[in-house]
């Protein structure tokens, strides 16, 4: 009776329309806006990319692949890209996609008033300039760039740019202000109650790319659920309770809850590594940390297996390379990294002339990142070899501020996902006097990274990546520890779901009754 009463209300309240084909997914934070690539964060991108699509998108391995385009042709001089649009693609309002929409979207993005996150990536301020975009016919779009760039398509596909999504012009009101996203994605924007939930519904007229199989943001993308409701639930314990009770159908969970939730007869738990890299940053400009031998000693004192286990238990694996383990560039060289050797660490400490100076590790206690547990375990290991390590816990905004100012000795930190090695290295490499947030200040290495940006040859690129990896391991400007892990629990009746790069792709997901 009670159970009936409760579930009746739960259904009534949480999954009001078309309950049978709808699922409720918990998310930790509300979206910032429904304006793709403009007012955004990772969570907002995730939602936006269910609704809209770009000319190219990442495939499962992180390579930019045609999506709204059927094919992309590159001219011999490497400066002209010709996109041929797929036929029969429709916007949510029924209008057919044409090259005019691409032009309209592009011009809107390049208008400074739009505040698109990635305008500066294409207007020359970051080294890449799109000089002209033209539409010779309804199915063809030509983009001209100033000089060859190995990362042009990759930048278009970036999730924080919302895939440079093609929008219908009715997405903005007559006065030019934003209304709502009318895209070509498998789901349509539903409703949004700020701070509480946002929803999307299946787009009946969706035309899936061919490919038969789901593949990153490309491949088969059929919307098989009628409605998906994303409920904002901040507290992990509440999320857990909701999953167990059945009020929630899917949610990212804390690693510490994985084992317990796996045991539930109603739930499945899926875990997949992503391109987030958890790392111990080191300020090489610091009087103590400037000593390379000391940094090598610290690297040798860390038992990475235990550090991973402090957060992911038995689910994760160490990876001491800047290249994430799922990348196609992650090869034999990248597998060789720091080795746990406390005796060597002690010897190196002596050679470094370390006299017990205090080393402070900054960390934050956000429950979704390993910052704090990793720092606690590292501190213990450092103390075991005789390093006087301390932890200072800050709130995330403060820690980020210290990161941006370069004001720290060590930090337990996470680098957000970057697929291409060039961008992955650029993320932390550069001159500290100009950009204090940079952790690796080595002009020689920087030259190699710059080379990665213009080199298209796969083997050549791999050689540079291997070289850079070895340098990072030897110089220890920071210590990469392990990759992030998406751990998603979902009701068993939700079928065909697979976490991928922290995105909750709802296409090709079905509901068994």
């Amino acid at each position: 009776m009670n159970r009936l009463l409760a579930s009746a209300f739960t259904l009534l309240v949480l999954a009001s329309p078309a309950a049978a084909q709808s699922i409720t997914v918990a998310v930790a934070a509300d979206i910032r806006s429904n304006n793709p690539g403009v007012n955004r964060d990772d969570n907002t991108d995730d939602f936006a990319l269910q609704l809209v699509e770009g000319l190219v998108g990442y495939n499962e391995g992180g390579v930019a692949t045609p999506l709204l385009a059927e094919k992309v042709d590159l001219s011999a001089d490497g400066k002209t890209y010709t996109f041929t649009l797929r036929q029969g693609v429709k916007f949510h309002n029924g209008a057919e996609l044409s090259s005019a929409d691409v032009l309209w979207s592009w011009n809107r993005y390049m208008d400074p008033k739009t505040d698109w996150r990635c305008t500066s990536e294409f207007d020359g301020r970051s080294g890449l300039k799109v000089e002209a975009v033209t539409a010779p016919d309804a199915r063809t779009v030509v983009m001209q760039i100033d000089k060859p760039n190995a990362l042009f398509l990759d930048t278009l596909a970036r999730t924080d740019c919302a895939m440079t999504a093609i929008l219908h012009k009715d997405s903005v009101k007559a006065d030019g202000s934003w209304d709502k996203p009318i895209g070509t994605g498998p789901y349509k924007f539903g409703e949004w109650k700020r701070g509480e939930y946002f929803t999307m519904t299946a787009f009946e007229g969706y035309k899936s790319p061919s490919g038969g199989q789901r593949d990153g943001y490309v491949g088969s993308k059929r919307p098989l659920l009628k409605e998906v409701k994303f409920l904002v639930v901040k507290d992990p314990a509440t999320v857990k309770a909701g999953l167990i009770s059945g009020a929630l159908d899917m949610a990212e969970i804390l690693p510490s809850d994985a084992a317990e939730l796996k045991k539930s007869p109603k739930l499945s738990v899926a875990a997949e590594p992503n391109a987030v890299r958890h790392v111990f940053l080191i300020q090489t400009k610091d009087a103590v940390m400037g000593n390379q031998k000391l940094r090598q000693a610290i690297a040798a004192s860390l038992d990475m297996d235990e550090i991973v286990a402090s957060f992911y238990n038995d689910l994760g694996k160490p990876n001491t390379s800047p290249i994430y383990s799922g990348s196609s560039y992650f090869g034999e060289v990248e597998k060789k990294g720091h080795v746990y050797d406390p005796d060597r660490a002690k010897k190196l400490l002596q050679e470094a002339g370390y006299k017990g100076e205090k080393i402070v590790i900054l960390a934050n206690k956000r429950p979704t990142v390993p910052s704090f547990p990793a720092a606690v375990v590292a501190q213990q290991m450092l103390q075991a070899v005789g390093v006087n390590a301390e932890i200072e816990v800050l709130d995330w905004a403060t820690q980020l501020d210290r990161f941006n100012k370069g004001n720290y000795q060590m930090q337990s930190f996470s680098f957000s996902a970057r697929f291409d090695p060039a961008i992955a290295f650029e993320q932390f490499s550069g001159p500290k006097d100009k950009q204090p947030r940079k952790t690796w200040d080595n002009p020689d290495a920087q030259k190699q990274i710059d080379k990665l940006y213009v080199t298209s040859d796969r083997a050549e690129r791999q050689k540079i990546v291997d070289e850079l990896h070895k340098r990072v391991i030897d110089e220890v400007p920071m210590i990469f520890a392990f990759n992030g892990l998406d751990i998603i629990a979902h009701a068993k009746r939700v079928q065909g779901f697979k976490p991928w790069q922290s995105k909750l792709r709802m296409w090709e997901v079905t509901l068994a009754n």
């Binding site: 579930s7 209300f9 910032r32 500066s120 309770a241 905004a397 403060t398």
Partner: protein, 314 residues
């Protein structure tokens, strides 16, 4: 009385002014800023500067304050940096949610705890008194989030009587809305019983020792009459003040309960905005909480002479 009220309202103006200036200064003393938080680990100095300029954070602090304060006088609290919503409607919407929880919980707790406190004082040092105080002390000493979680596990998961996640406004669906509010209210209710009971007991004890009570007893009035006519009415003054304090503090401190039960109230809005360094929302929330607090205190003070005739309103 009217003059007293008017003076008090005038007096609250400097209070609110102090709050505005100090909140404005304080949140800018805290390291971290909204622009770099929004850009995360990929921010370049140029992109941060761009965003700051767009948010108006590149101007000098006095200028920023001047702009904000000028808008405030026009009744405009600005726009959230994160959600780009207007701050005032956002606050009012969230406040209503928190207020219904706090008011109901404190009202219920007062109804139970004030009589219980008087009773305990009257029966001082008996086993009844001891057990009432022990219960109050225990309730007082259980952290609200712990209590909330225990309730959640018991009523939500074990018995499945109440929903565990989400929130529905009463306006949308009255029955479901009430179901969602039961546990948060119960959590605060249990906690506040402890606070209020102890204070009511202490004030009554004070009064019971006073000479006029002895006189009243000497005059041969029944214990019940002494308790009601003299003790209870006089003891209510300090307790009333405390209830005011509790109400004011709860509005600021309800964030914990709102976090456990995922209720989009004012407390969570404030804490979230602090973490996100959403300056306009923090400033708006703080000013609003301060304003409400001043108002509550005014009402409490206006009522004080009613309960304690010895204090003349001035």
């Amino acid at each position: 009385m009217l003059r007293f009220a008017l003076t008090r309202i005038l007096m609250s103006v400097p209070t609110l002014l102090i709050v505005s200036v100090s909140v404005f200064a304080l949140i800018r003393l805290i390291p971290g800023d909204p622009a770099s938080l929004m850009l995360g680990d990929l921010a370049t100095p140029a992109s941060i500067a761009d965003l700051q300029a767009r948010l108006g954070l590149d101007q000098s602090l006095p200028v920023q304050f001047g702009i904000w304060f000028g808008n405030l006088l026009k009744g405009d609290l600005g726009q959230s940096i994160n959600s780009q919503q207007a701050v005032l409607p956002l606050i009012l919407q969230r406040f209503w949610i928190s207020a219904q929880i706090v008011l109901v919980a404190v009202a219920l707790a007062s109804l139970v705890a004030v009589p219980a406190g008087v009773l305990a004082a009257w029966k001082q040092d008996t086993s009844l008194d001891l057990s009432l105080v022990a219960v109050a002390t225990l309730l007082l000493s259980i952290p609200t989030f712990w209590l909330g979680l225990l309730l959640l596990l018991f009523f939500g998961l074990k018995l499945e009587w109440l929903p565990v996640v989400g929130y529905v406004s009463i306006a949308e669906s009255p029955l479901a809305g009430i179901l969602y509010l039961i546990m948060p209210i119960m959590t605060l209710f249990l906690h506040e019983i402890g606070v209020i009971l102890r204070m009511a007991r202490a004030s009554t004890l004070e009064v019971l020792r006073l000479d006029y009570i002895t006189h009243a007893r000497a005059k041969g009035l029944t214990e019940g009459a002494v308790l009601w006519n003299h003790a209870f009415k006089n003891a209510f003054g300090p307790t009333w003040t405390l209830i005011g304090l509790v109400l004011g503090n709860l509005l600021g401190g309800i964030a914990v309960v709102e976090t456990v039960f995922t209720i989009p109230g004012l407390g969570r809005l404030l804490v979230d905005s602090i973490f996100a360094r959403d300056y306009p929302v923090i400033q708006g929330c703080m000013l609003f909480v301060a304003f409400t607090y001043v108002l509550v205190n005014l009402v409490i003070d206006l009522c004080y002479p009613i309960f304690d005739p010895r204090v003349t309103a001035q």
